[in-house]
Symmetry: C2
Subunit: 149 residues, 2 copies
DNA sequence: CTAAATGCAAACCATTTGCAACGGA
DNA sequence: TCCGTTGCAAATGGTTTGCATTTAG
């Protein structure tokens, strides 16, 4: 928490931006989230604690957090961009159910290593990656059977 | 080409939809594309051959093509949804340059196998996946050095 | 004939931007 | 004080929808 604040404020100073209450509040709320939150999710959470913060500021701050590596954004098929932690959080990938939208997280050392190897082969300097396996989760497979019979 | 048309027309019949000239034209154009085309890209290409086809029909047809597995869509950070072949085209993943936007395609048997293994572990029935490694491509690394010195 | 398809224009909707008031440094 | 920041409202832009007309089956 303190480390992340440090990183954020340092980034602001470096860019000549200002440290404000709204920005700090949004960072705090974002750090408390787990998984994948949309700007709207963050906005609601921030709103609950400080109703004066606007939608726009949430968007602008999430952009800043992304710039300094504290957040990572990913576009989803439903049209929303979602944000997850980008610092001090173990990286993981996702199984995405195309029926119910649920997310399962996983991590594979083998895949991570192989990716680095591939990047090296193409003289590509990787910063991050996104691996999503789409399909039907176990729950939905069971339900589908029930409906079919 | 003929196989794909077969699949498409079969899908239309099954769903009680109609086979139209526009739909066939859009499929033909789509099949000729390589890589990742936005709806707008397809629209321009179709337009060049048949100026009467509308934007809306392209969107609606790409949706149909996706439904029957001939196309696969992916949302990109620039806001555009892009479509690539989903049938009879060897699957591949991407290195995405965050500086110039260029795409490098790659394929790894190891990663593919590992993904299936992971899906199995979670009793997840995979349909497809998307792996993107973001970073700086070799070209942009060289340019950056040139600017810095 | 009849229900689906088409293309236009308008609607949608997540996100971004213009702007006047505000507030760090 | 000086510029960046804020929140509102309006704009943006890719995509979708309503509707009157056309067309496949």
């Amino acid at each position: 928490m303190e480390q992340e604040k440090e990183i954020f404020f340092e980034h602001l100073k470096k860019e000549g931006f200002k440290k404000t209450g709204q920005r700090e509040k949004i960072l705090e709320v974002f750090l408390r989230t787990e998984g994948h939150s949309s700007a709207e999710d963050i906005y609601s959470l921030v709103r609950a604690e400080d109703p004066t913060v606007g939608f726009t500021t949430v968007y602008r701050t999430l952009k800043l957090l992304t710039e300094c590596g504290l957040a990572r954004q990913e576009k989803f098929a439903d049209g929303y961009t979602r944000y997850e932690h980008g610092y001090n959080h173990q990286h993981h990938d996702h199984l995405v159910c195309i029926k119910c939208g649920s997310l399962i997280e996983f991590f594979s050392e083998v895949i991570e290593r192989k990716q680095d190897e591939i990047a090296r082969k193409f003289k590509f300097q990787p910063t991050h990656h996104s691996l999503r396996i789409f399909g039907i989760c176990h729950q939905c497979q069971i339900q589908h059977q029930a409906v079919a019979s």
